[in-house]
């Protein structure tokens, strides 16, 4: 069930489905483990109504073998959207996967879904992901110091936003 409009050079985004309960740690955006039963509950909760567009959770799948390697969670609020990207704990090129996922989802939200404001909070130590946000026209507007814990050090969180030109003009 590939969506042709959300396919990149090495990955594609798709809706989650029932079988994905068996690979929950690849798409569940938490470091805490869940079993297939809990994963099934979450899938049912997230997909309880096809017309409910307050929250979407999309799988990031690899084109080469269809393996789920992460997820994109999109929260909608009024004309705004916020995006969270996650990669499976075993993925070794997380920064590259996240960057490619953002190159798919951000232009789609910006140009096709016509959101007025899109927000993205990213760790400052993922250069490819940050570059993908900036390529999509996102601007770093705030920086929270030492937000993320890393082994032996901490990393800032950067708040990126894309603002529709009509809103930007009205703000001026």
């Amino acid at each position: 069930m590939r969506a042709v409009y959300l396919t990149g050079p090495t990955i594609y985004l798709r809706a989650l489905q029932a079988d994905d309960k068996d690979v929950a740690m690849a798409w569940h955006q938490s470091p805490f483990p869940i079993d297939a039963t809990r994963a099934e509950q979450i899938l049912n909760e997230v997909h309880s109504d096809p017309w409910d567009s307050r929250e979407w959770l999309l799988a990031i799948a690899r084109l080469a073998d269809d393996a789920v390697v992460g997820s994109v969670r999109i929260y909608f609020w009024r004309d705004e959207a916020s995006v969270r990207v996650h990669t499976a704990p075993w993925v070794t090129d997380a920064d590259a996967v996240q960057a490619e996922a953002l190159r798919l989802v951000l232009p789609w939200l910006r140009d096709e879904r016509e959101r007025l404001l899109i927000e993205l909070n990213l760790p400052a130590d993922q250069p490819a992901t940050l570059a993908a946000a900036e390529e999509a026209g996102f601007t770093a507007r705030a920086r929270l110091r030492e937000y993320f814990a890393r082994p032996g050090h901490r990393v800032d969180l950067v708040v990126y936003q894309w603002v529709h030109p009509i809103v930007e003009a009205a703000h001026a």
Binding site: L117, L144, A149, V167, H171
Partner: protein
């Protein structure tokens, strides 16, 4: 005092109880200011009761809120709390709201906030806290700066006031910055008395 968690000179913080819903609804109905982008809104006691009940269903949860009460008469005068708690990275967003115009301008706000920050940094050992302030709420921005918060940036919002979109200001705060601000606040209090 009833079930206190943090105790200050004139105020204490305790868990919110379902019975507080009526007082919180009264404060929102009487609100004189428009602090937030949704403006003033009458909120049902039923909604407050459901919110309070949900607050304590997970331990630890992703949010912790306290009733702010006066020691002299146990009267509830507002709430302070943290939300979006990230227990792995040990960061959270702080929130504060004093209800009732009669409770403002008496120094209750800073005392309640310092009790909350003491809880954040010295009880549950957060590394950093942050806060959002809607730009038109300049008094809140001045207050968080006095509490030691540093400016972290300015983000766009779709909230409007007087016909135009307004920004939100972001702030962050480490423990040492808060300790310095609390010392300065205590010195000002002593100088006043």
């Amino acid at each position: 005092m009833r079930n206190p968690v943090m105790i200050g000179e004139r105020l204490y913080l305790r868990p919110l109880e379902k019975e507080d819903a009526v007082e919180l609804a009264r404060y929102t109905a009487e609100e004189t200011e428009t602090f937030f982008d949704m403006g003033r809104t009458p909120v049902s006691p039923l909604a407050w009761e459901r919110w309070i009940t949900k607050l304590y269903t997970h331990e630890p949860g992703s949010a912790i809120h306290f009733a702010v009460c006066r020691k002299e008469d146990d009267r509830l005068i507002g709430t302070v709390g943290i939300s979006s708690i990230d227990w792995i990275n040990r960061v959270a967003e702080t929130e504060a709201w004093l209800g009732g115009a009669e409770n403002r301008g008496k120094g209750y706000g800073p005392e309640a906030k310092h009790l909350l920050l003491e809880y954040c940094f010295e009880r549950i050992h957060l590394h950093m806290v942050y806060s959002w302030v809607w730009e038109p709420n300049f008094r809140s921005a001045a207050a968080v700066r006095r509490q030691g918060y540093r400016d972290a940036g300015r983000v766009k919002t779709l909230g409007r006031k007087e016909g135009r979109f307004r920004d939100a200001l972001m702030f962050d705060l480490f423990r040492d910055e808060w300790l310095a601000a609390r010392d300065a606040w205590r010195a000002r209090q002593e100088a006043k008395s």
